[in-house]
């Protein structure tokens, strides 16, 4: 930026910022200005297409090791409400936006996003053509990148990014999991959400939660659905978990390469069949791995709040929140059982074959018995959910807790409780019936004078 541009910007809410540089490992360079903390960070560049919920995204531990690009160009408009933060320690490496808002407006806002980023020491850049960057990632795949406010020589940064470690094979879970077990229950729910959310009353389930980097929103979802949780570190031995005699065990989301978290999936293998299991995102991959599945890396991942997923058991489509770069290869779970697949016996690479045929195919698995494909991504035909038919376990690749994103899949928390209650039809819930569950609309103290 120049003296002229500084003079033009001097009295705007944005003010004047120092330059920053984003360099990808293939040599692509983006210039911008700093809008967070100063520093130099390395990570895998990815993009998220959500229109709202930047705070929940930034504070999601699954982004450990990553530099996030927000595709919506103006970020920070409604500021930061501390109650919406998904984890107190921010795990992302950096943030890329087109335009950062310095004058947020919302009744719940505690501070502006740039202030929040600085206070959490997150390096961020604005002024980037995030659409061009997104197209680049889409066309050339996820890759390493460096974001710096200190070194502004692109050649130097390119050399550094090429030497930086890749997240493939790296165990990022241990960097975000809790150190000690602790409980999270109904009294821990954020007060700041009380204007909009309520909890399920009635019987409660005790659930042990494997924390691979769990989002606050998932804990809230479990508790609101009727679970009292004990959160344990990612590598807690299965016997220790079973000794707590939980009604169920939950496998959380988490960052990075699932193949690097063998210590969790091996515990899941031991839990399989002994206690009802529910996994989300990395938890889904842990359950898959426990059943011997192969995990693949997606070209550029699913990150956003508009991914269509069909529940093959009901034929209903859910609009889902997603954040993952790896996925389960369904065919690796076993051979199809033609009797349970309307006669089809060959695996299809593109799982949309099943959504079009309205069939929820079943495979025979060596470890867990029959496993059903329950959910398919309608954009690219990848596996979004499985359910074991012979042991009490199911999992989804996407995020029913949303936070941020659409809450169509909220019913899965209810389903988990139904599974713990021993119901076979636990997954067959009408989204429409569940739609308003947990939401609150009317102010209670207000009188009604409707004539």
């Amino acid at each position: 930026m120049s003296n002229v541009s500084d003079a033009l910007l001097e009295h705007t809410s944005a003010g004047i910022h120092t330059p920053a540089l984003l360099v990808l490992e293939d040599g692509t360079v983006f210039h911008g200005v700093s809008c967070g903390a100063s520093g130099e960070v390395f990570g895998e560049i990815c993009f998220n297409t959500s229109l709202v919920g930047y705070l929940e995204i930034i504070s999601d531990p699954s982004y450990a090791g990553q530099i996030i690009t927000m595709t919506y160009p103006q970020i920070g408009n409604y500021g930061v409400s501390f109650q919406d933060v998904q984890r107190d320690t921010l795990a992302l490496r950096g943030l890329v936006v087109h335009d950062m808002c310095a004058h947020p407006s919302n009744w719940r806002s505690d501070c502006s996003l740039p202030e929040f980023l600085r206070s959490h020491n997150v390096v961020a850049i604005e002024g980037v053509d995030t659409r061009a960057l997104t197209r680049h990632i889409r066309d050339y795949g996820a890759q390493r990148a460096v974001l710096s406010t200190q070194e502004l020589d692109a050649t130097v940064l390119l050399a550094r990014v090429k030497e930086s470690p890749s997240i493939v094979g790296e165990n990022l879970v241990k960097t975000v999991s809790c150190d000690h077990s602790h409980t999270y229950g109904i009294n821990d729910l954020p007060e700041g959400h009380a204007f909009a959310e309520t909890s399920q009353s009635g019987n409660r389930h005790s659930v042990v939660v494997y924390d691979c980097g769990i989002k606050q929103g998932i804990l809230e979802g479990l508790v609101r659905a009727g679970c009292d949780t004990t959160v344990v570190p990612w590598n807690t031995p299965a016997e220790e978990v079973l000794s707590l005699h939980p009604d169920g065990v939950f496998l959380s989301n988490g960052p990075g390469d699932p193949d690097a978290v063998g210590e969790t999936s091996s515990q899941v293998e031991m839990l399989l069949g002994k206690v009802p299991l529910f996994g989300i995102c990395l938890g889904h991959q842990m359950l898959s791995k426990a059943c011997g599945a192969t995990i693949e890396k997606l070209p550029f991942g699913h990150r956003g709040g508009n991914q269509p997923v069909m529940n093959l058991r009901t034929g209903r489509v859910e609009i889902t929140a997603q954040n993952h770069g790896f996925g389960t290869v369904f065919s690796s779970l076993g051979s199809l059982v033609p009797d349970l697949c309307k006669g089809y016996s060959g695996h299809e690479q593109d799982l949309r074959f099943w959504s079009r045929a309205r069939i929820a195919p079943v495979v025979q698995n060596d470890r867990a018995g029959r496993i059903q494909l329950t959910h398919v991504n309608l954009n690219d035909g990848t596996c979004e959910g499985i359910a074991c038919l012979d042991v009490p376990a199911f999992s989804v690749q996407y995020h029913p807790e949303a936070s941020p994103g659409p809450t169509d899949a909220h019913y899965l928390f209810t389903a988990f409780c139904r599974l713990m209650d021993g119901r076979d039809d636990y997954l067959d819930i009408d989204i429409a019936q569940d739609r308003l569950a947990g939401w609150k609309f009317a102010a209670e103290e207000e009188g009604d004078v409707r004539a």
Binding site: L51, D84, V317
Partner: protein
Amino acid sequence: MFVPKREDLQRILVIGSGPIVIGQACEFDYSGTQACKVLAEDGYQVILVNSNPATIMTDPQLAWRTYVEPITPEFVEKVIAKEHPDALLPTLGGQTGLNTAVELAKSGVLDKYGVEMIGCDLPAIERGEDRKLFNEAMDELGLETARSGYAYSVEDAKKLGIEIGYPLVIRPSFTLGGAGGGIAHTEEELVRIVSQGIDLSPANEVLVEESIEGWKEYEMEVMRDRSGNGIIVCSIENFDAMGVHTGDSITVAPAQTLSDIEYQRMRVASLAILEKIGVETGGSNVQFAVNPRDGRLIVIEMNPRVSRSSALASKATGFPIAKAAAKLAVGYTLDEITNDITQATPACFEPSIDYCVVKIPRFAFEKFQGTDDTLTTRMKAVGEVMAIGRTFEESLGKALRSLENGHMGLGADGNHFDEDNFEDLCSRPTQDRIYYLAEALRRGQSVEELCACSGIDPFFMNCIADMVSVQEALRHFRLDQIDADGMRVLKRYGISDVEIAHLTGSSEAAVRAYRKGLGVTPVFKTVDTCAAEFESTTAYHYKTYETGESEIAPKQQKRVMILGAGPNRIGQGIEFDYCCVHASYALHDAGYETIMVNCNPETVSTDYDTSDKLYFEPLTFEDVMDIVDVEHPDGVIVTLGGQTPLKLAHALLEAGVPIMGTQPEAIDLAEDRDRFSSILDEMHITYPRSGMASTFEDACDVADDIGFPLLVRPSYVLGGRGMAIVYDGAQLEKYMTKAAHISPDHPIYLDRFLEKAVECDVDALCDGDQVYIGGVLEHIEMAGIHSGDSACCTPPFAFSEAITAQLRSITRQLALRLGVVGLINVQYAIKDAMIYVIEANPRASRTVPFVSKATGVPLAKCAALIMEGKKISDLGLPPDDRRLDHFSVKEAVMPFGRFPGSDAILGPEMKSTGEVMGVASSFPAAYAKTQLAIDYKFPQSGTVFISVCDRDKRAVVPIARDVVRLGFNLCATEGTARILRASGINVDVVRRVSEPSPNIRDMIAHGDIAFMINIPYGHETRDDGYLLRGAAVRYGVTNESNLAGAQAVVMAMETVRETGLPIVALQDLPQCEV
């Protein structure tokens, strides 16, 4: 093989929305066109009813059977009886289509003919539309609505006022665009609004509601399929707080100031509402208010149909809501429909956008003197613009310069402020408030103060403050001091070249050249529904100043660029969009890659499906040239989009842009009065004598020379604005003092006014060698009424062969002499068998779509092909002097009901918003259809009130005699009554409005008057007639304000009684394809 669509249906009836009126504009042509296309593609036979000839959907190729007939239960029943449709799709024709469908369902017509209502059933429509049922449904869901109650009388309303507390919002049930609603701060206001609202409501019911003025307002565009899958296509946040009708608000997509938890709560509520109301399939919109202090969420309303907002949402996201709604109605589910834009992913998703969209309404208050310009819950906008940019600031700047209201942005190019009312104009919502707010910030007022007085969210106010701050900082620079970084900053804050020129004391041309020299040029991005997550194949682009790449596909074939008409306004509406769309179709078929440029989200032209490429951009020199610079078109069409592109023609030509068809020089020749007069003199063509004056004394001299009456108008405005007819020196003086800005630079024109002349339009094609007369249109109203406001008939029903031949001959000569290549419209006045040329417009006229429908010759398509180089003889057109067996009448639709206080009278200034067409075997029958189509019911009996000026007293006698013969009683004011009695006609005398009660106004109010004939003299406004006409508008009594119109109505009534009105499908009339 599983077939998702319904095979048990073959014929589907689609009801359009009829004429363009305030609150229901061409967005329904856009949605209806999409629906007809997609249903036809799926193999259904579409039967369409729509009275509006200027629509694309009524093109005979688009439906199996097209009925340009009144959208009334009677006529739709006739269509049903004749065509036997299996199903009726009621949700695509706006409130008009929906109301008609409801009436047909309730009266048992649908059951009688076995027609199934698809998309939405009757109970769902009623739950959505009836406020009581709706509020009950919301209550059952646990959602809050504003505290409220129903009133059926003023007394009910007063009681509710005491219970709920003021201010109160009043909404009549079942009215269009909130007509008759308002906000009452006192009991007095309540009584006034409620008494009017009860009258306007078909159910005689108004909702009296707690005011949530000042809250944030949101809209959610929702779609649902028969499997119960629901998606949000788009969220919209209003810039203007609650209290301003959403159609009158500046709106922004996506929602800007909601956190995730608030947004998701609104999302689930929207979907639950659709489910609760029972919208089986299709699109709906749900409106919410949010208390900015505590997040309290209130449901305002929902529309169980495609709406204005859904058109906006479709354009804003690239998701074709109407198309999807039509497919869903015939049985598809969202996951079975492919996303048009990506061609790879399903339509069952929620579009993600990576830009910000701003819509700004366009108003026409200047046309309706005497009306209050405050924006309220009752919509008054006549059009709108939309802009796409990467930030709110950039989009706002673009949208503001798209408005064509004299500003090239937020007002940095100079503005005139009303200093006496400055504070009021910052807080009171008007069309100019945004400029006052910007000026207040410039003058140092704080964001907080302005948010408090206007209710606008601080987010938006801060954005404006930033824009102002950058503009003010720019004042300290000369153009040559700005570097590339600085220029980019200016552009990102939405500042136009014109504004930069103004602030740096330079010129637009210099700024453009300098900016390009710095290398600061825009890039073009794509609207792709998915924020670039997937590749898209659709070329729907917008301009932005970014550092990255453009997404323009390289040129592979000849390219033609068509400049659209910009925002709808009175005088320039859907007719021009129709012409642009036709040109695009024709040139695409002729092997061109067509590029559309327009900024009006309501139109068919801005459907990404219409042209090969769409640029959603302002129609300014800067924005058009930026596109030219990347597209390098082989030709640019400027003569089909009305004045908007025409104004740019010269500058484009000078910049080296190839203009197709008629050259700007020829346009000048026709528009320059002196040059045009000398051509007419040279060709011995008669025209009314005229002169020019810049002082009252000059004007008197001209008047002495030419003689009264005179048609007077300022030279600096277009479209008949400020035009008047003066009959004497006193009226001339009054006009001169009232008309502002008269100076030697801005003189007034004075033309001899041809009293009682018959007016006529001729539309023709010319290829430089040959002329094809498209149609001769005989006006019904006499000279003195703007051609856009008068009814007209083609072929002429009362012209002699000789006159018609002469009109054709003059038109031929003029077209060739002016050098027209494309369309020309010539206006004539015929007085005493003498033909006068009033004006010639070498461009598409407002009547082109009507003439095309009436004759079956697609004039706009022909014009485009001629511009491209074809000859008329190549087009295979039928002989232009063939005799047609049917008469087609066009009638204008007036918006007086929206502008209480303005005079409801036709004159030389155009005021109509839309038009309807009637086709029949005689003129009176066709005219009758137009009257029914604009909702004038022909009374069968009762009392007719007649009051005419002295000039017309003798002429009204035969009309009065006919009225009596038709079985009506007559009443008249003293003077008129005396003449009628003297002529042997029985008549009662009533008191004038200005006389004590009981007078004629009381009779009107009591519904004692079946219709009235009130013919004033000259251009008086605040007289008895004004009050009388106001009362007629208010109580919905048909009023004829001129003799010819009165005569036509009487003739029409008689014909209806004698022969009835059989329906005609366009497909049964001669049609020509080119």
